[in-house]
Each structure stands twice: as structure tokens, then as C-alpha cells.
């Protein structure tokens, strides 16, 4: 008999004492000695209840995750968690901040921000009996100003407990490129991904489903910002790229991106420049370039980013696909 099942665990991350944590493999193992078909993964990231530091609108930008399914690699090292799945709803990883006094019906007393992510795997992944999902989470410091905070992470893998075993499994494969520094100030330099970042490092072809591009950025919040609670002091905040209507979004919109394949052939081109605006490829609210393309072993995609303006921004790109593995 096939039954639904959820594997879940949680972790608390600090930027000093516990920057990373591994989830309990016992909790991440399908119960009852049965195989499991993992369909999707949900991740919640919450800031502390009392924010004594710069405000976070999107705490997910600083969370990275590493996943292995038994002996198979799912992510190539740690991957920004919000680069796993396309943003299927504008509010998928946005919740804003509740702060004390502005809303009586909140559990929080000092305000907190919450991000919720859902990754529907490219294909459901078969997990043999007694085989754990090995999951580690890590807090990364993108901007210097984000020092001194905690994150509460909870993770769930949802799927079905199966009643028969399979000989093969479709395992996702995700690799990513994170801009090495939060660029600030006038800058005409370009940032380029290396050959091992957006790369198929496996010894077999990977079927790519999509590229995902997102930008973390640091913005000064002011009264009138549509996503800032009136009454809050102006402060530095950190957010994702999902704020339509916000005038400061001109910066990531103008961010240029050029993608090339392993042979150096441009995958993007424009009428006046080979650099396209970041968001013309990774549309806001969706953040995804859907494709169906086979990437052979050791093939890679090169991302070259050009930064046109003054801002503290950190663009990131991932490629998400799958391959079939024999168990």
C-alpha cells in the first residue's frame, strides 16, 4: 500500500557559534524500512522574534543548503536555498516583517521575518529503504551589515512511502554561482563564473530543467517603501528580488548578464549589447529560465555579470536538472 509521508527536521543557525548544522539522518530516513518517492521539499527560514539588528525582509537569501540522497549528490556543495526552485508565486519567499505594536494578532513581540520556499523536484526521486536524505544547512554572510543574527530553519521532504523497490532513481542535480562580493560603488568590472560552478561535475549527462537567477540586495528602507511597515525607523534591510513597484528595483533590473555554453557560444544576445538585463532572463516573480537541455559530463555554463550602478547587490544563478542513477 502506498502512503503519504513527510521527513522533517529543524536547525538553529548563528553566525558565530553554529554557522552550519546537519539535520538528523534518523529523521531524514523513510520510516518502516520502506522506500520513498520524494516529490517536493519545503524550507522555512525565520529570523529571531526580537530583531536587535538590521531588518530582514527575506532571511532566505543567507541560507545555503547541501543535500545528498544516500550516496548520490543532489546539490554540488552548498547551494543558496532560494535557488532550488522557481518562484511559483510572487510571495513564495516573501513575508515581510511583523513588528511590535503594529499588529496585535501576531505571536511575535519584537518582529520577525519569515521566508518559505518550495522546491518541486524536476522528477520525483526514489529513495531506497533505510536510505537517508543527508541535509546540511549553513548561514552565509553576504553583506557585512548582516552580522549578529540567528536563523531558525525547518525542512521537510514530502512524498510517498512505496510498497515496492525500484532499480533506478531520478536524482536532481543543482549547482550554482554566487557573485563573489556584494558589489558597491561605481564599477565597470565584470564578474564571471568559473568552470566548476555552473557545471555538470558528474560522469554522466544531466538533463537541465531550468536556470534560476535571483539577486540579494541591501537597501535602505524608508517610509513609503511598499514593503516596509509604516512606523518603523528607517534602517538597513536585506531582501530578495521580489518587490515589484519598488523604485529601487531599477538597479537589479539594469544588471546585465551574459550566458555562454562550454564552447563559448553565447546563449543570450540583445540588439545593442550581448548583455541582457538580468530580469529579462529571470523574470521577476518567476526567476526562472525554463529549458530542456542535456548537459554532458564536465560541460558547463558561464555566467558573466556586468554591474552598472551603485548598489549593494549579490546576484546568484543556479542550474537545476536531474539524471538517472542505478541503485
Amino acid at each position: 500500500m502506498i502512503e503519504p509521508v513527510i521527513l522533517a527536521d529543524a536547525a538553529t543557525l548563528n553566525d558565530t557559534t553554529a554557522q552550519s548544522a546537519a539535520l538528523d539522518t534518523a529523521k531524514m530516513t523513510p520510516p518502516s524500512n520502506r522506500p520513498m518517492l520524494v516529490r517536493d521539499i519545503c524550507i522555512g527560514v525565520r529570523s529571531p522574534r526580537n530583531l536587535a539588528f538590521p531588518r530582514w525582509i527575506n532571511p532566505a537569501i543567507a541560507l545555503q543548503i547541501k543535500i545528498e540522497a544516500g550516496r548520490f549528490v543532489v546539490t554540488q556543495g552548498f547551494i543558496p536555498a532560494w535557488l532550488l526552485g522557481s518562484n511559483n508565486d510572487k510571495q513564495a519567499d516573501f513575508n515581510g516583517v511583523d513588528s511590535a505594536g503594529t499588529s496585535n494578532n501576531t505571536i511575535a513581540t519584537g518582529g520577525q521575518s519569515m521566508s518559505r520556499l518550495k522546491w518541486i523536484l524536476p522528477r520525483p526521486m526514489y529513495l531506497p529503504p533505510n536510505t537517508p536524505l543527508r541535509v546540511s544547512v549553513k548561514q552565509v554572510q553576504i553583506f557585512a551589515e548582516q552580522a549578529g543574527y540567528q536563523q531558525f530553519v525547518n525542512f521537510s521532504a514530502r512524498g510517498l512511502l512505496l510498497d515496492r523497490q525500484q532499480r533506478t532513481t531520478d536524482v536532481p542535480y543543482v549547482s550554482s554561482f554566487v557573485s563573489p562580493v556584494p558589489l558597491s560603488g561605481p564599477n565597470t568590472a565584470r564578474v564571471q563564473s568559473g568552470q566548476l560552478e555552473l557545471c555538470n561535475v558528474l560522469d554522466k549527462p544531466v538533463t537541465l530543467h531550468r536556470l534560476i537567477g535571483r539577486i540579494a540586495w541591501q537597501v535602505p528602507f524608508t517610509v513609503g517603501n511598499p514593503f516596509w511597515n509604516p512606523g518603523e525607523d528607517d534602517a538597513i534591510g536585506f531582501r530578495g528580488d521580489d518587490g515589484s513597484g519598488d523604485p529601487t528595483l531599477a538597479v537589479p533590473r539594469a544588471y546585465g548578464v551574459l550566458l555562454k555554453d562550454s564552447g563559448g557560444v553565447a546563449m543570450t544576445s540583445g540588439a545593442t549589447s550581448e548583455y541582457l538585463p538580468f530580469w529579462s532572463i529571470f523574470a521577476p516573480g518567476y526567476n526562472s529560465w525554463t529549458m530542456q537541455r542535456v548537459l554532458k559530463a564536465n560541460e558547463h555554463i558561464t555566467a558573466i555579470l556586468s554591474k552598472p550602478a551603485t548598489a549593494k547587490v549579490c546576484p546568484m544563478i543556479s542550474m537545476v536538472g536531474y539524471r538517472t542513477e542505478r541503485i
Partner: protein, 316 residues
Amino acid sequence: MATVTSVRNSDLPRHQAGTPTSVSGFVTVTPGSSLAVNEDALKNNTGLPIEVREIKFAFTIGAPAGAFEAMIGVKTVKGDTKAITQTPIPISLLGIRRSMMSESLVNDSIAIEFSKAFIGQAVWRIDTPLYLMPGESLQITIGHRGLIPNSTFVIVTMSGTVVQRAPSKRYLPYVAAYIGQQIDFSASLTVPGQSSTEKHLVNALKIPVRIMRFTGRLPAIKNNLFTEAGGWSETPDGVENLVAITMRSSNGVPTVRFATPFGRVFEQISASWECQHTLPPGGYYLVNFPLITSPNLVNVQFLPMIAMHGVREDQS
């Protein structure tokens, strides 16, 4: 000289296959009451089968769908009823949430809109089409759960297409639900746990049900206002993490073995857990909400609600 005072469906030109069709009925419900929508209004008078794809609910008060419940069935030409919902189901639990905005209609910050009586709505997109044969009608009873103070005018619409013939193998939706006890942190920091029983999330039919998903909501109730969990920041951010569940199947399998935050079981956008499988007759799931401890006293109550959606063969 005869005066035409009304037009009956049978007076209308005969329908042709392929014609889109929507029929509506309505009721006005007062807090705590329930009323059946006129069956004739939701009757198939086309002479051909109707392939129903959606059942829609509109409320003239800007109230969230979860403030109302619906008991739904199909009345056959013989007068029998084929149940679609096992019990009255909060309307917000019928189907997948399409947008986090869609259910955040009433709360403090837009209370002024509440008085303007703007329209709230909910759409249930049925997984496999429901075929309403000629002469059959949809039986829907709308209940006002008393969670908002206003009487409300509710319009129920079924939309679909007239078809030449229905497939020989047809399916009917099946929905069962568990509506928990209020979780109240206004006087105590701890709230006892609670559990569903084998009579809630159960396949009460004599045939297997193909389960498609579970849907879950954790709406907040405060000052006679009612909000749905997971909306904008007006809704309680912490609740989806604070309230956790475990779950077991009737086979004793721990389907949610360790206490898992509500928001990670019923992911926050769709508020659903897609898990297609077959539940045999009499099969059920037990949901347990362990003891909950809140960091603060808050003047608000939460109402855990979980539904199980499936389809089964229409054996009529």
C-alpha cells in the same frame, strides 16, 4: 392576455454539446445557520450531460471562504444522493490556494473594507470532471460558521460544458475533514494537544478513494474577525511554526513521524500537500497536534483545519 412572469430552463433553446454553461443558486445565511441552495437552481436541465469543472462561491461580505462551510452531493433522478463531502467542509479547504492574497480579505487593517461589503470568493477546481447527468442536480448546503458577525449572501455557481455523452467510467470527488478545537493563547502559554479520530480523515465509502492531496489552514480568529493563515503580514507569522503536527495512517505507518511545523506540511502558497495514493474503504489518517507552548500571551485564537481530497469511481 397571458403574462410571462418567469422563464424556466425548459423554455430556453435546447443546449448543444460543447456549450459552456454556468448555473447559480444562492442563499442568505445568518451566523450559526445553514441553508440548502435551491436544488432546481443547480439542476441539469440541458437534456445532455454537463461536465462540471469548477464550483465557485461568492460572498457579498468580504469574508474569507473559511468562515463558511459547504455540504455537497449529487442528487440523482431517482432521488438518491451521492455524497461528495463526508461532512460540512470549510469552503477554503476545498481545493488548492492559488495565491496567498486570495484568502486574506478580512483583518484589522482593512476592516473598513469589511463594512463596504465587497465580494470575497473561492473557486474549487475539481481534479477530475464531475458529470452531472440530465435531470441530476448538485445539492449544496451552505453553513455560516459564526466566525464573523454578519449575515452573508452566498452565490454558488457550477461551471462546465455541455457534452454529447459522458464517459462510461466517471468519477466523483470525495472530501473529508478534521476541524480542530480552537488554540487559544489569550490566557495561557500552553495549549493541550488534540487529535483527530478515525471518523474524520476517513474513507467512509465502500470503494477505494484515490487521494489527491491534503489541504490545511490555520486561520486566526480575533475580535469576531476571521483571517486565513498564510496571508500578508497581518496574519500571525509565528503560528505556522508554532503549531506542529504528527500523522499516522490506519496501517500504523507514521506518515509524519516527528512534530513538523504546520507550514512545512501544508506548504504556504498552495496550503496543500500533494500525495496521490489510494485509500481503501475504511482507511483513515490520524492527525495529532502536540502540546503547544507560546512565547507570549496573545489575544487571538487559531483554528486548525485539515481536509483530505480524493476521487472515486461513480458507480451509479
